[in-house]
Amino acid sequence: MLHLIIFLVFAAVCIAGAVSLLVQRHPINSALSLIAVMVSLAVEYLLLGAEFVAAVQVIVYAGAIMVLFVFVIMLLNAGVEERTLGSRVATIFGIPAMLVGSGLLAWVLVQRSGTGSVAAGALWGDPQKIAQLLFHEFLLPFEVTSVLVLIAIMGAVVLASRPDQAQPGKKEG
């Protein structure tokens, strides 16, 4: 019962945050709404028993990525956005497509997942289990992803370094 109440409360917070993200006129308010979404998602993971994933969700998304978002907004000193009517294509096709898409997704999930839903706290998400999965069953995908992230970091470094500073020896020679 308590699980259900907590689930509903944080699901509502999550959806309210997502809507607020779209309708807020100031970028920093949108960023803060997104943080609310991330944190309430973390609580939902916690309810399912996936403690490690919940903690990582908070540390990585709410703590690191969103801080960078806020940081960029602060640096650019972005002001209040001007409200436009939006593109007509988006209103005519986007909203129905979204409704159909999410309806389809819900239908497939309910039809295909066998049990229909997962009981609260039913998953075994403690760190040991996650480590077992990552380093035994899914070792290859894990390592491939690591290499991918490394390439992305190197790409960012190359993009960020200015050409005249990248090779100081050449200019003087």
Binding site: I28, V58, G63, A64, L68, V70, F71
Partner: protein, 345 residues
């Protein structure tokens, strides 16, 4: 334990923990003023009470009765929310920190910890990483150049040092194989040859301890890493535009963070509440608390000592120190610890 008793016991523990933490915060400020005063050949506070011991109380009353100015150029909702965010997250992380073994009172056994969770360390790290928003938003919403620069510096510094801080802890995690702070402390009980305690700092995590300590100074914006509030260049950094209780909340957050960081250092590297036990059963119950408190006092004193001794870094030095020195050192420590554990187990 029934649900009602559980709620009651938890409530009592929360009230005691918050009370002790806030008192500790107030008296850390007093200790800092006293010790820095003596380092600089002054007396520090002496007027209110014996040795100025009632000074924190007087300061608290002063903060409550000061006029709470809100400058006209601020972005109000976030300006008001920022100090609250800072102080809430600073106080929350105490919930998972154990201060001793379990005690039995009137047939009721309970841990000396509000919540014993198996990802305790991750929760502390998560709360600390979200706590950055208090400082960042304060800087931005004040709409003043000093505050903005202070807020930017604080967020950049905290993100950078969080990396080396997190990496320095992984060595300890490898050795103990758990995120539970209670379990990590229990792994460190006992001694080698009846002399050297089995603390992690004596089990090869010496380098990690110093990486943690230095990153922790930067995380809590303390000298020599107090660039976000460097008064010689930025007035007061991110809290320039704050007055009265809102300013006091930032202050409380900073000192509460210092205490949390000191608790973590004691738990992870210095064996938590482990120490010699002797005397009557009552004394044996109190001694672990005393040993733990002694370690925290040691760290707080060290903080103040460093503040009284070292000058401030320059900003580029600060960033270079984190990324070019602490981070590679932490990775090297991690690799070596991992190799040793893998080869010996």
């Amino acid at each position: 334990m029934s649900a009602g008793t559980f709620v009651l016991v938890s409530l009592v523990k929360i009230v005691i923990a918050i009370f002790v933490l806030l008192t500790a915060v107030a008296y850390t400020v007093w200790l800092e003023r006293k010790v820095v005063g003596h380092i600089q050949n002054r007396w520090g506070p002496t007027r209110v009470g014996p040795f100025g011991l009632l000074q924190p109380l007087a300061d608290g009353i002063k903060f409550l009765f000061k006029e709470d100015l809100t400058p006209p150029h601020v972005y109000r909702p976030l300006y008001i929310a920022a100090p609250m965010i800072a102080v809430i997250f600073a106080l929350t992380s105490i919930a998972v920190i154990p201060v001793g073994n379990s005690i039995t009172l009137g047939g009721l056994t309970t841990n000396l910890q509000i919540a014993d969770v198996n990802i305790g360390l991750l929760i502390v790290l998560g709360i600390t990483s979200v706590g950055v928003y208090g400082v960042a938003l304060a800087g931005w919403s004040s709409n003043s150049k000093y505050s903005l620069l202070g807020g930017l510096r604080a967020s950049a510094q905290m993100i950078s040092y969080e990396v080396s801080l997190g990496l320095s802890l992984i060595g300890v995690l490898i050795m103990s194989g758990s995120f539970s702070l209670r379990h990590i402390v229990e792994m460190q009980s006992g001694t080698y040859w009846h002399i050297i305690p089995r603390w992690n700092i004596f089990q090869g995590q010496f380098v990690a301890f110093f990486i943690y300590l230095m990153s922790a100074y930067a995380e809590t914006n303390r000298i020599p890493f107090d660039l976000p509030e460097a008064e010689t260049e930025l007035v007061a950094g991110y809290h320039t535009e704050y007055s009265a209780m809102k300013f006091a909340m930032f202050f409380m957050a900073e000192y509460a963070n210092m205490i949390t960081v000191a608790c973590l250092a004691s738990l992870l590297f210095l064996g938590g509440w482990n120490g010699p036990l002797f005397g009557s059963p009552l004394l044996q119950a109190i001694l672990p608390l005393f040993w733990f408190g002694l370690r925290i006092f040691f760290f707080l004193f060290l903080y103040i000592w460093v503040r009284g001794t070292l000058p401030r870094f320059r900003y580029d030095q600060l960033m270079a120190f984190s990324w070019k020195f602490l981070l590679p050192l932490a990775i090297a420590n991690l690799v070596i610890t991992g190799l040793i554990v893998a080869l010996t187990s």
